[in-house]
């Protein structure tokens, strides 16, 4: 009934649309105003503002997501871009956003990319979050921010009675500081943050062997970033250290300490009006100081010099990227799957990647883009057609084919990790994904925008051996979002409907997608110094194949109140999350969260 209603709505909308008149993008923008109004206390909470992405989290801090309508457990091909720099920030599929060395108050806007294509010289095949932090024109800025948060449902004094229960905590405190200085042709910024979380929810708690021994998990994140621009030369770097990172502990039965460092330099050269060459070098490393590293292969150093050429004229644009990527994994006393012992070995790999894209403007309203990349283990092709129908309407349609092979990883990884992190279906090491998409954008006025997005995913997995282990299936994701903005009031309504083909096997992980998702967010400024933000989200029940369990539907409501102080120099925010106390479940074997509350402050000292 509901799906029929949805399609009826789409048909009516399309009929109306054809006769009226826009802007087409494959992006969503989460601006500073929305981030501040919602009272986001840490970067990872940004997913709560992106209903278009399916998400799962074991603890509310580390997340696994899918931007194209697939289930969130699938391989994490989405990317993190920070001010045009791609961060190689991946711990076997887990991308702890909080480790990005920026503070919330630095964010100007976040670009949420859903559609495959080239963005800032980086090919995005399955979504990206692009954090933009270049800030105001002020010459000198010093900002301090922080928050305290807690989850309700602790035993309190009843701990000492027959009514005792587990201690539950999810969030604790963050503190951050940012200093920015601008000169005539250059700028400099430095920031630091420290976050502490106590993930003591019973399920998380019991999963942690340290906790069983009486220790209380305490995630401590230290992170700092530096950025400077000297004329056209951009330099940036950062470090993050995460103590008790526990996303692996259901595998390794303990929390691990991991760290990430990166250094980036890029320099654009304008050869002529048409030709632009950008040289870039990026050095990054992920490391875990634990013996489990030899199984997880996380001590990875990456050196990545690249040259990008952009040739543009009035009719077409050709971009090509030559990238040399070298990995170095250091292993000591490693015993592989077949029992071979490898001692003190450096695994060194290098690849020359070549990507190119061609985009042609057919006329003022139609443009076409084709992209192809070549890589031994991961190749992709995509094309996009963007049609600007009139001043109000635009249409984007296209397709994407991605092929991934897992041969190399199969060799090194123990089967347990390979099954979970490399291929979601045991034994599969060839994976072909066909994605077609269509997005219709209708800008009724400057204040009202309606977007309809369709994703059709066709998946094909093949294990390549004699077993009959081929699986294929279709997933349709239909998304409708309506956005209204004016000076005092903002609202965004999202409706998502996901349909799976019946030929998916019962235990296919791709069935782990809620059929219906509805989210409404509203922001209202009552006076110039006080505003309210509210969100209500409904997710229908979901069958989680990995755990053979069905998650009940849930209704989550959040409310935030903001008060500006000191003539707008400071902002104080108080927020309640999950007011209805409908236990918030992201993962059946993971935590379930009760009503949370937080206070957050932000002071613009200079």
């Amino acid at each position: 009934m509901n799906s029929k209603l949805f399609y009826l709505l789409i048909v009516i909308f399309l009929i109306i649309s054809v006769s009226v008149a826009g802007e087409t993008t494959g992006n969503r923008i989460i601006d500073k105003k929305e981030i501040e109004a919602s009272g986001i206390t840490q970067l990872s909470e940004i997913f709560t503002l992106i209903p278009e992405w399916s998400v799962s989290s074991i603890d509310g801090v580390t997340w696994r997501v899918s931007p194209n309508g697939l289930e969130p457990f699938h391989h994490q091909r989405w990317k993190i871009i920070l001010d045009d720099v791609l961060l190689d920030f991946d711990f076997w599929g887990t991308k702890p956003l909080d480790m990005i060395p920026i503070n919330i108050s630095q964010i100007v806007f976040i670009e949420v990319i859903n559609i495959p294509g080239i963005y800032f010289g980086e090919f995005v095949e399955s979504g990206a979050l692009h954090f933009h932090t270049i800030d105001s024109n002020k010459k000198t800025t010093l900002k301090i921010e922080g928050n305290l948060a807690n989850e309700t449902g602790d035993p309190g004094p009843y701990r000492y009675t027959k009514h005792t229960s587990s201690n539950v905590d999810r969030l604790a405190e963050n503190i951050g500081i940012v200093f920015e200085k601008k000169f005539n042709n250059s700028s400099f910024s430095i920031n630091f943050k420290n976050s502490v979380h106590f993930p003591t929810d019973p399920v998380v708690f019991e999963d942690n062997s340290e906790a069983i021994e009486g220790e209380f998990p305490k995630q401590n994140l230290l992170s700092g970033g530096i950025k400077c621009r000297i004329d056209k030369l951009d330099l940036s770097g950062g470090m993050s250290y995460f103590e008790d990172f526990h996303d692996f502990y259901y595998l390794v039965t303990k929390a691990l300490n991991n760290s990430h460092h990166f250094l980036n330099a890029s320099y654009p050269m304008y050869i002529s009006n048409n030709l632009n060459i950008t040289t870039k070098i990026n050095i990054s490393s992920n490391s875990i100081k634990d013996h489990w590293n030899k199984y997880l292969l996380l001590n990875k150093k990456i050196v990545k010099p690249s040259i990008r050429l952009d040739y543009t004229n009035s009719k077409y644009k050709i971009s090509s990227v030559f990238e040399y990527k070298s990995y170095k994994n250091k292993l000591k006393n490693y015993v592989n799957n077949d029992g071979y012992t490898l001692e003190n070995i450096n695994i060194f790999k290098s690849r020359l990647l070549f990507d190119y894209s061609f985009s042609k403007k057919i006329n003022n309203s139609i443009s076409f883009e084709y992209y192809q990349n070549f890589n031994k283990y991961n190749s992709a092709f995509s094309d996009k057609l963007e049609i600007k129908i009139d001043n109000h309407h635009s249409l984007l349609l296209g397709g994407f084919i991605g092929i991934q092979f897992f041969e190399d990883l199969n060799y090194y990884m123990p089967s347990l990790f390979r099954d979970i992190y490399i291929s979601p279906i045991k034994g599969y090491h060839e994976n072909v994904n066909y994605l077609s998409f269509l997005e219709w954008v209708y800008n009724h006025s400057e204040n009202l925008q309606i977007k309809l997005t369709f994703f059709h995913n066709y998946y094909y997995n093949y294990c390549g051996d004699s077993q009959n282990c081929r699986i294929d299936g279709n997933i349709f994701s239909n998304q409708l979002s309506v956005k209204y903005n004016n000076n005092n009031f903002r609202a965004k309504l999202y409706y998502g409907l996901s349909l799976n083909s019946k030929d998916l096997e019962t235990y296919d992980p791709r069935k782990s997608i809620p059929k219906y998702t509805i989210q409404l967010t509203m922001n209202y400024s009552l006076y110039s110094d006080i505003s309210f933000w509210g969100k209500i989200k409904y997710t229908s029940s979901t069958f989680w194949t990995y755990h053979d369990s069905t998650l009940d539907d849930m209704l989550i409501a959040d409310l935030t109140i903001r008060k500006k102080l000191m003539k707008n120099k400071a902002v104080f925010t108080f927020g309640l999350r999950n007011i209805l106390n409908d236990t918030q479940r992201y993962h059946p074997s993971g935590a379930s969260f009760d009503l949370n509350y937080f206070v957050r402050f932000y002071i613009n000292v200079i």
Binding site: T152, P157, R159, Y160, H163, S165, N167, Y527, K567, F574
Partner: protein, 191 residues
């Protein structure tokens, strides 16, 4: 009777919301109260909240008043199986002041904040020696003006503490209120 308290309170809250005050943060009232718990439920099988004190500040804020304050109570254990503990309620509130006549006024408001517990238990893990929990509260008070600045204050307060097994507490409190024009620095800070 207590079951319908929230509804009655909400109706009173809406009724009083018509009251329009002066410019935000123009004046301030500091209230100092002694409080006493008078209800009896499961909680009181284990602890007896002793007489405590409360200090709060209120200022006019657009159509109502905002308040900020803390309340302290010691909770005396009734058995050796449970330790004594100190509790501190720190809260922010919003409510309305309704002038009954020249001498009497009524304040009705909602509070929310953090309920801090510090257990007198030397054997407990250090991470669990103290705990925080969210709480919601409602207050109604009657003030009798003694002169332009001082008033006698009588309040009835209800708190719901969001522990796994919820704690419901009722307090009656008496004290004095002192009103004054907000100092310029404070006004500038709050604006």
């Amino acid at each position: 009777m207590f079951k319908h308290f929230n509804i009655i309170f909400l109706l009173l809250f809406i009724f009083c919301s018509n009251n329009i005050n002066a410019e935000p943060f123009d004046s301030m009232t500091v209230v100092l109260n002694l409080n006493s718990n008078f209800n009896n439920n499961d909680f009181h099988n284990y602890w007896e909240p002793k007489t405590g004190f409360e200090i709060s500040g209120r200022t006019n804020f657009y159509s109502g008043m905002i308040e900020l304050g803390i309340t302290y109570n010691k909770n005396k254990s009734l058995s050796i199986d449970q330790p004594d503990y100190n509790s501190i309620y720190s809260f922010v509130g919003f409510g309305f002041n309704y002038k009954i006549n020249n001498s009497f006024s009524n304040y009705i408001g909602l509070r929310m904040g953090d309920y801090y517990m510090d257990f007198d238990d030397p054997d407990i893990h250090p991470e669990l020696k103290s705990e925080h929990e969210f709480y919601l509260g409602a207050i109604t008070s009657v003030q009798y003006s003694l002169n332009k600045r001082y008033a006698f204050n009588l309040s009835l307060e209800h708190y719901k503490i969001f522990t796994y097994k919820r704690i419901y507490l009722w307090f009656v409190s008496v004290g004095v209120a002192y009103s004054f024009d907000s100092p310029k620095w404070l006004k500038e800070f709050l604006q």
